[in-house]
């Protein structure tokens, strides 16, 4: 293969990589990835007012939590939390989005996956949607509003 061929191939590869990367974030693939090409759309937008789904735990085994504890604060109970915070966070967001989007099949599928992967106890929990500004929420957990989406129980697995 000649140097000229190498040059042309390099140009084509770079252009294709760029084009596929850009497309991965837009029309045909919302995940930002068309493996093994990624869009690199990371931190593209500054977070403004946020809506976030959260799981609040009310009962683990025999232990009760009157006001509920956020799932992320339950690492003493769920060792799997330590594995990948972005993993369970993403799953909770997908679960909440499916709920509010009336996609029952997706909701049940994600809920089962969440419970199987991250919850090992008999547990009672609530799925809620919080609306907040990131800075006050980060500083003190202040939220603007909380909306309950439903209560769920997990028996011994």
């Amino acid at each position: 293969m000649s140097f000229k061929f190498y040059k042309k191939t390099l140009l084509v590869v770079l252009v294709l990589y760029f084009a596929l990367g850009m497309l991965s974030e837009t029309s045909f693939n919302k995940s930002g990835e068309h493996y093994p090409v990624f869009s690199w759309a990371l931190f593209g937008k500054v977070p403004n007012e946020r809506h976030k789904f959260t799981v609040k735990i009310y009962k683990i085994g025999d232990e009760q939590f009157t006001n509920g504890i956020p799932f992320k604060d339950g690492k003493g109970y769920f060792s799997t939390i330590n594995q990948s915070p972005s993993g369970y966070e993403q799953m909770i967001q997908v679960m909440g989005s499916a709920f509010v989007g009336d996609d029952h099949e997706k909701f049940e599928e994600t809920r089962n996956m969440f419970e199987m992967n991250f919850i090992k106890y008999p547990v009672e929990y609530e799925l809620v949607r919080h609306t907040f500004d990131p800075i006050p929420y980060f500083r003190s957990g202040t939220i603007k509003s909380e909306e309950s989406l439903g209560f769920y129980s997990v028996l011994e697995q």
């Binding site: 190498y6 040059k7 760029f18 593209g44 977070p47 990948s84 980060f138």
Partner: protein
């Protein structure tokens, strides 16, 4: 276009440096592979494993068996790459090993950004011609240097894509009347929002959230360097600058957001700290005058 400099790919000095850096790339890959194996695979007990297509062979195996096989492939490929990097088959196996590892890491519901660049560069370097001992062959010399330069282009293009999305995001948010990257609170908002998702925010997260004006210029600088990253390819005397700036950016994500991006740092060191394409050392002021955008003012003045 007159500002863009294409290197002389036939240059023998460039070749000697490129060859040395290719060697260090594969030595670094061995180090990376061992550290990935040690830190990830031996403790990999995650359950939400949904294998991507490069792991098609793993269907009859349990998750644990798949992790062990991929770990072994990773180590063997990295050792062969480091020992026989002059041979194309060894470079191919090194690529295959990172491809398998990367697919495994990306099979838990989200892409594994940290090792993407290793995957791409291992792929590019497969196409290096066999020039060791035949350095007088000009055609092969040009091809070797072009592949090295192309690898640098791939790295920088990736960062430019990230920068481009930030600029798209800025215009989109401005058009909707939202807070954008132009707000002095933008870095604090990013850090706070990310910190909410983690039990342990970055060590300086609270400091920046409480002092947003200190974080803002850092975000603007990171966006500037990312956006123009590919342009720096044509500015060989600024290769060290762009490498250092991108490392500073990765260090920032660690200190402020607890996002670890150690793996690309190693690549940036190998490819940009002592770039084969840089010319004789110029003055700092001279280099500064050639920075993207800034150079336009100096060109006008002269």
């Amino acid at each position: 276009m007159k500002y863009l400099k294409i290197p002389n790919f036939a240059d023998k000095n460039i070749l000697a440096k490129s060859q040395a850096l290719v060697k260090w790339f594969y030595f670094s890959y061995l180090f990376l592979a061992i550290s990935l194996f040690e830190s990830k695979l031996l403790f990999l007990d995650r359950m939400n494993f949904d294998p991507l297509w490069p792991l098609w062979w793993s269907k009859p195996l349990s998750n644990h068996e798949t992790f062990i096989v991929v770990g072994m492939i990773l180590l063997i490929g990295a050792f062969l790459g480091a020992l026989f990097y002059k041979k194309r088959w060894a470079r191919f196996l090194a690529f295959l090993s990172i491809f398998q590892y990367h697919a495994l890491e990306s099979s838990f519901g989200q892409p594994h950004h940290q090792t993407y660049l290793w995957l791409y560069i291992c792929l590019f370097l497969i196409f290096l011609p066999n020039i060791w001992g035949k350095e007088d062959n000009e055609e092969e010399r040009k091809k070797f240097n072009l592949v090295f330069w192309g690898s640098q282009a791939m790295i920088l293009l990736t960062y430019s894509m990230s920068g481009l999305w930030k600029i798209f995001g800025m215009f989109s948010q401005l058009s909707q009347g939202e807070i954008s990257i132009l707000s002095p609170n933008s870095m604090a908002l990013h850090i706070a929002d990310w910190g909410i998702n983690f039990q342990t925010p970055g060590v300086f997260a609270h400091f920046i959230v409480d002092n947003p004006i200190i974080g803002w210029p850092m975000l603007l600088f990171a966006t500037y360097v990312q956006l123009f990253a590919l342009y720096f390819l044509f500015k060989p005397n600024l290769h060290k600058f762009v490498g250092l700036s991108l490392i500073a950016f990765h260090l920032g994500t660690l200190l402020f957001m607890q996002i670890t991006f150690i793996q690309p740092i190693l690549i940036l060191i190998v490819f940009f700290f002592d770039s084969p394409f840089k010319k004789e050392r110029g003055s700092l002021w001279g280099d500064f005058k050639t920075l993207p955008i800034i150079e336009l003012f100096f060109k006008k003045a002269t």
